[in-house]
Amino acid sequence: MGQAAEETTLLFDGADWNFETLNNTLNAIEDIALNDLGLNIYPNQIEIISSEQMLDAYSSHGMPLMYKHWSFGKHFARDQMMYQKGYSGLAYEIVINADPCIAYLMEENSMTMQALVMAHACFGHNHFFKNNYLFRQWTDAEGILPYLDFAKKYIAKCEDQYGLEEVESVLDAAHALMDQGVFRYNRPPRLSDADRLAKMAARAKHAETTFNDIWRTLPDLEVEEEEEMEERQAEVRNIKLPEENLLYFIEKASPVLRPWQRELVRIVRNVAQYFYPQKQTQVMNEGCATFVHHYIMNELFNRGQISEGAIMEFLHSHSSVVFQPEFDDQRYSGFNPYALGFAMMEDIKRISEDPTDEDREWFPEIAGRNEWREVLKDAWANFRDESFILQYLSPTVMRNFRMFAIADVAKESHVHISDIHDNRGFRQVRERLAKLYDLGMREANIQVVAADLEGDRALHLRHETHNGRKLDTKTKDAVLTHIETLWGHEVTLDEV
């Protein structure tokens, strides 16, 4: 290492960065990412922003454009206060699943941090977005920004036309159903549905050519055209109950929504769907990015391209990123996805390079084959958190985290330790942990079971309880009120 350092020059020295050092560093990182790790990425678009702009981006799902809503203002107000009072720092980066992949770097970062962040976001997350099956199937990286642009303008237009309150009441109600507004098992229709957009453009054009001040009330948003209504009703007839995507069902079948209100519901639903894969791959996505930045930074150091000071600074922030507080710690709030993902992926590398007997027994197909690059890339492409843990959580990781499983019956005063990190418990602990990452289990499973569209128009929902866990009544009532706003008639919910 010492000799190499003499031959190659450092990419940067000290904390200050400029666009030249950024560019040189990015090239060096890319060399390792593409030629050593063999990652497959979208082109990168890297944007330097100030902390204030970071706060702005924070409050609206981190997206560069978003429609306006008070809840984003509320999040901003809170984040701003937390930041100004020093309760919380800001993320070093935000990365957006789009093609090209957009990453925000904060100007306050030191050069070492910029290198870390570029490796993390522009290669780790970027590779994951481009290759993981959930993102490939369920989101449309090319279409998202144009779609959000459309959504933003559309909602602004509706606000002008129908007033803030009208728009807000629909968005509020739709937001309340975002968790129940996704397709979990069927592939959703594409965002940039070419047909639909073309139709809209044609309509806009028609409105322009026949422009008349008297008709300024945009009749196309107010009244549904016959042909469209038939199309929609045909779609409603095709829906087979029970339907898990409440927003979809309401958008199509609600007896009271006007066309522009249906469009608002659709926008919220599409945004929810776009973020759905991210919720299912937190551990993997962060694990992948963390593994990649860790590997690349060490490799840069081995090649003598960054100084000892830089690697020390890197290790300091890396270890706080992968810090896992224990269950009895004040700071504990569940597993840290960075820590768990990184530990599992590092362990795959270790098993592949230097396995123990235990590893050979548990992972005969990868142990000792020294093919960790392929194994990891396969995992990143074809698994989500639940299946990844079920497949790859090794006894070593469970031991290191000192994992234990408990059964917690709400009515009892004690919890029962069901299994711990020993030979008898490994498989059960692993299974339990995997299950915790199954969104179907984590989020309330609520479905439309019946809707009387001809008669009294009542909408019946059912919550399929799991292990006797009921819905919180206070939020349940509030959400039901929102659903009634959208449905316009009676809505019932029973829990079985």
Binding site: F19, I48, G73, F327, Q330, N467, D472
Partner: protein, 440 residues
Amino acid sequence: MTSFHFIDRRKNPKGKSLGNRQRFLKRAKAQIKDAVNKSLRDRSLKEIDKGEKITIPSKSTAEPRFRVDPNTGEREMVHPGNKEFAKGDKVKKPPKGGGRGKGKEASDSGDGEDEFQFTLTQEEFLDIFFEDLELPNLVKRSLKEIKSTAFKRAGITSAGSPTNLNLIRTMRNAHGRRLALRRPSTKEMNALKERLFQLERISQPNEDEIAEKKSILAQLEEMEARRRWAPFIDPLDVRYNAFEPTPVQTTAAVMFCLMDVSGSMGEREKDLAKRFYMLLYLFLKRRYERVEVVFIRHTHHAEEVDEETFFYSRQSGGTVVSTALEKMMEVQKDRFPAGEWNIYVAQASDGFTQSGDAQRCVEMLNDDIMPISQYYAYIEILDERELEVFSDADSGAELWRAYRTFAPAWGHFAQTRIAKPQDIFPVFRELFAKDKREAA
């Protein structure tokens, strides 16, 4: 190699989420207003124009989602950090709210917390504060405005507008530069030309003369060239006077707050009085560099107190208003000489005073106070029923009637009766109008 794009967005306009913030403030308006009104009570007069951290109930801005109630059914969890547990152990649950650290889970979207805390900017705070007072827009704007500035000399610069050209500096620089570059002077050249002229007049010059002539011509040419590249005045020499905007140094003002604190002044009355003082303070703050506030409370005797005591402690006793005026004069003579301080007096009372005392007050005002004050504002705080009874300006409590008789003599005396916050402003109308005229 993949193509990279670095885009520097730092210069992009900030406040992208401003629209969201406005929507949020609008949404929670009623609660924010309550919180602001509550915080008016807790904040001191001098802090009125600062931003404020406020807390509102989260109910109005809740974003409910379906949520599983943790107190039902059973669930299986996996945690890290086992120390002594073995399979089959039973462990007592930690007390609610602690231990398992579920803190973050319910942080914002559910109604996990009952309160939502954030910071209002100064402008937002004042907007809400002004709302109740029903201030005219112009006044609102002028109160929020940052203090006025004037241009002051700030040395010499090398760039500026021609009107600010500093001739002396410019010429001095040019002169120095000409010396340094040895620019041939016109005098020298004229001497040579003279000589040349003489030489040319010689009809048959000898060789020496021809040589001299040549050398003079060469010299002259060189000098011309030199003069061309070392001009008389070069853009480098030009200097301008610089001016910088600096806050106007106005003299200091002192604001006397006089208030009757006898039993008849309750919570509501004091709250109204506080707003009255706050508004005056804001006005003074904008006009004067330095504003001191003196609080004088009185019953049948008067004393100077701190703000806390002024607004929140009770005292019993009769009511003799003139004692407050006496006290005020005493403090004024002692610490605020009229030559150095602009004196503003704001008096709040329920209008009752010992019989005969009102006349004494008027005498004091006429003889001592009005001549030295900039403005004297008197409010009489009534409840709404009383306000109807006293709808006629001429009838009223003793103090009111007494003030009415002498007020017209002084242009800078204002009195009004108030029962609601929006009644406060009229008493200042004259004050703000005057300011407007001066500004125009």
